[in-house]
Amino acid sequence: MNAVLIAIVVVPIAVTILTWWTPLHLSRALTIASGIATFVLALTLVPAATSHGFLAAGPALRADALSIVFVVPTAFLYLTTAIFAAGYLHLPEGTAGRRYARRFYAGLNLFCWAMVVAPLVNGLALLWVAIEVTTVVSALLVAIDDTDGATEAAWKYVLIASLGLGIALLATIVMYYAGTKVFGSSYNLSYPALLAGAHRFPPDAVRLADILAVIGFGTKMGLVPVHTWLPDAHSEAPTPISALLSGALLATSFYAILRFFQVSMRALGPTFPRNVLLAFGLASLLLAALYLLSQRDLKRLLAYSSVEHMGILAIGMSFSAPLAIVGVLLHVIAHGAAKGTAFFGAGSVVRKFLTKDLLRIRGGIALLPWSGTMLVLAVLALSGMPPFGIFRSEFLIVSGGLSDPHDAVAAILVVLVTLAFFGLSWFTTETMVTPAPPRLVATLGRGETSWFIVVAMVLGLAGLVVLGVHVPGQLSVLLHHAATELEVTR
Amino acid sequence: MSEAGLAPPAIQALQDLTILVGAPLVSGVIAHVEGRIQGRRGPRILQPYYDLAKLFRKETIVPEDSSWVFLVGPIVAFGCYLIVPLLIPVLTTYGLPLGYMGDILGGGFVLALAGFAVSITSAESGAPYAQLGASRAMTFGALIEPTILFVVFAVAIITATDLPYALAATVRSSASEIVRPAHILAAIAFFLVVLADTGRIPVETHSGTLEFGMIDEGRVLEHSGAPYALLKWGSAMKQLILYTILIDVFVAPWGLAGDRQPGAVVLAIPALIGKACLLGCVFAVIDNSFSKLRLFKITEFLAAAFLLAALAVLVYYLGGG
């Protein structure tokens, strides 16, 4: 539906412009409303995409099944983060507070707009531009807290991510060059043209473009070894932004890699693109699992968990069974919900205990009955426990992997995920489940800091349970369509 | 062999004579121009000849502890500088009989031998500044050699031979040869090497006696009389030889005699000397525009020259340029 596509692109940017001028309460409400609207529009796109094959609005916007798979979790996180931010932000009075609020909300809306638009644009060039916009906006948002750590994290982030995007630009140009052999020297990089002509592209150029794209966009996705900015940026940013970074931005960068993957599959056959992703995925999963065992900072722990899950995604894409691809796409959605909820819980804990240091937080569930319990549930979800969505998606990936010639990889994946579970569960038991020391109870008191946070977490967990127990019919069809699109090879 | 025109041995001898006689002239022109740039009247252009004549008449004083090497070294160096013009295109575009004795690498070796001889005799003298100059010259020579090698490689792979005559012919053949990046980079690299080897700013102060910065000039401090005259003449000849290689092989190989007509050959002499003087003026301008580099920064300068030479080879070999 043209109208829905246009609406979903216009609403967040309009709200961005509005929140620059409106006072805090109005900005809050507008952002939540925008989140609801975007999510509803995204859900409307689901059946439309599967029945029509793809939707278009002008030459620049195009939504096929793969795009919608990525728009849905981003829109969902937009909604829940908006609710969470309403309860999380503690602003100083006066002009400083107003300035922070304006920059925060305008930035939040602009960031979400860019992440929603990126899967919907038609063409590799526009995709690059959209992801560059996300980098730029998120770098400013990481630095918004104006602490030493935030400045350092923002500098590292913007430098490494920009370098990665420079490489990704080179990848785009090399892919363009590959296309000139088929399309002549002037054409735009729209997906239908690329996918149709890809089997005639010169293989050397496509190989170079694929590797450069994985390295370049991999810096933004958090693939080892170019992930070094990720733990810093995700832990030093304000928590709502961390949730968006981990849950949505990594997925959007993965989408970019998938588009290059699609073209490479048609041009080169399945072996090369899959092996590239396998290599990076294994490295990411291994490193993240090891680092998870030694974390002291709550948000850094969750950041490494994101690296772990990105590794799982990359490894999943390297399996040839369609079941695994469906699992990967489901994992994108489920991980977004789970990571968002986990960060919301982390934010609630930080608000309550006024520290991120894991060694000083004790008795989480006792002091935060709702958000503490839900944080534990979210972390269990991240480790792959039923009945949450990630269990289903990881199950699909592993079973697909076991029927693949590379079945040893599936076994390694299970081992490493278990290792990561140890790391996460140590944190959970140490901080949340232990009884509260009386001193802390006396100073901090029991009770939630804000009911907005609770509502956001309930929404996230509800989504996870839905995905875990029974994936809605339309969504399942969407996932299968998208998987089919990714499986086409020469 | 046609009988019209000069016999090849005569032309060969003429090449040597040109370098021999023209070298002090070029030095004189450079010194004069430098003086003019600095706002002085500058020494007269023929001054080096008078200096050489005077030096040959003076007595030779030898340090007590030195051996026969002290006196033989300048002669060896001078002899080497007389051999090299036989190998490179000085006046003609075609190879002369003795010219095939050695290729561009051979010419390089003979020049290195000359430098070695000069360093040995200055080390022989036992004087501190002379030895300092000698050791510095050897050190920087070791850094210059890779650059020269790469320049030679660039020449060799462009023409698939390393006879300097062949490269000159290639450069003359079309404009595209001049602008190809391998050629330009190699030429600039060689220009920097010449600058370093002839002891010009920014590597060394050519005039005056700043002992702390002396490299080439310091080596001849202890000599006097006829050996000193031979050393000075030899260094002027080395300068002209390097200029000749730069001009006749890389930059401006026009004006060389195409056949053995005496008119053409004789005309080639002032053409060469004129071009060398022009090049010398360029060096004089550089001399007065920059300041001398501190000794440890000379490695950066030489690294830059090496970079250009390496790029010349890379761009050609891997890029077809």
Binding site: V136, D148, G184, S186 | G319
Partner: protein
């Protein structure tokens, strides 16, 4: 083994491309941050000239517009922004680096050789510019990495990133000269926005730590 000489156009274009690489090497050496920025302006100028050369010989009129826009942005605006930041920062204006200049030059040469070899192995041909220029652009990208890794002050790192974008521009001139103008301009404006962000973060960094060096940026570990 001797290749025939390329045409005059090819040779001239190659020389201009080599100038881009040489200015990248010069940035490795430049001790003053101001001279780094000026070298970047020079490099952008050379890239603009290259764009005009391609536009003139291959009759691609859109490239003239692109050359004009990139001249304004990369030669005038971006250096102006960075120089203004430098003049406001009342701190020492000399960059620092882990190794000496000669070592860094040798590392950069080794890296360029790797770049040349990898592109040479790929046999990519184009009609707009000789494939030497593509190898040179990849070498520029790799040397800018060396610059970013080995120099330890924010301005050098930012200028390194900008020069990486110059390298990618040369690559796009070689293999993608027909890229639609809209796309090229979009890339350029994205670069401008990135520059603004870099500028903001540099100012914030300098405001907090009172220095342009990246040595204080080592708190977050593990």
């Amino acid at each position: 083994m001797a290749h025939p000489a390329p045409s005059t156009f090819t040779g001239a274009a190659d020389v201009i491309a080599v100038l881009v690489l040489l200015s990248e090497f010069a940035m490795l050496r430049a001790p003053l941050l101001r001279s780094q920025v000026r070298l970047y302006a020079f490099q952008s100028l050379v890239v603009t000239v290259l764009a005009i050369v391609v536009a003139a010989t291959r009759h691609i009129d859109e490239l003239y517009v692109l050359a004009a826009v990139s001249f304004v942005l990369k030669v005038v605006v971006v250096p102006r922004i960075v120089l203004r930041l430098l003049s406001r920062a009342e701190v020492s204006l000399a960059g620092s680096s882990a190794y000496g200049v000669a070592t860094m030059t040798l590392i950069a040469i080794a890296v360029s050789i790797f770049g040349f070899f990898s592109i040479g192995a790929l046999h990519l041909h184009s009609t707009a510019l000789p494939s030497t220029a593509l190898a040179i652009s990849v070498a520029v990208v790799l040397v800018s990495f060396v610059l970013i890794i080995l120099r330890s002050d924010v301005v050098s790192q930012a200028v390194g990133f900008f020069s990486l974008e110059n390298g990618v521009s040369v690559a796009s001139l070689v293999v993608a000269s027909g890229l639609p103008l809209i796309v090229d301009v979009a890339f350029l404006f994205d670069l401008l926005v990135a520059v603004v962000v870099f500028g903001v973060l540099m100012r914030v960094h300098q405001g907090r730590t009172n220095t342009l060096s990246t040595d204080p940026l080592d708190q977050l570990k593990g």
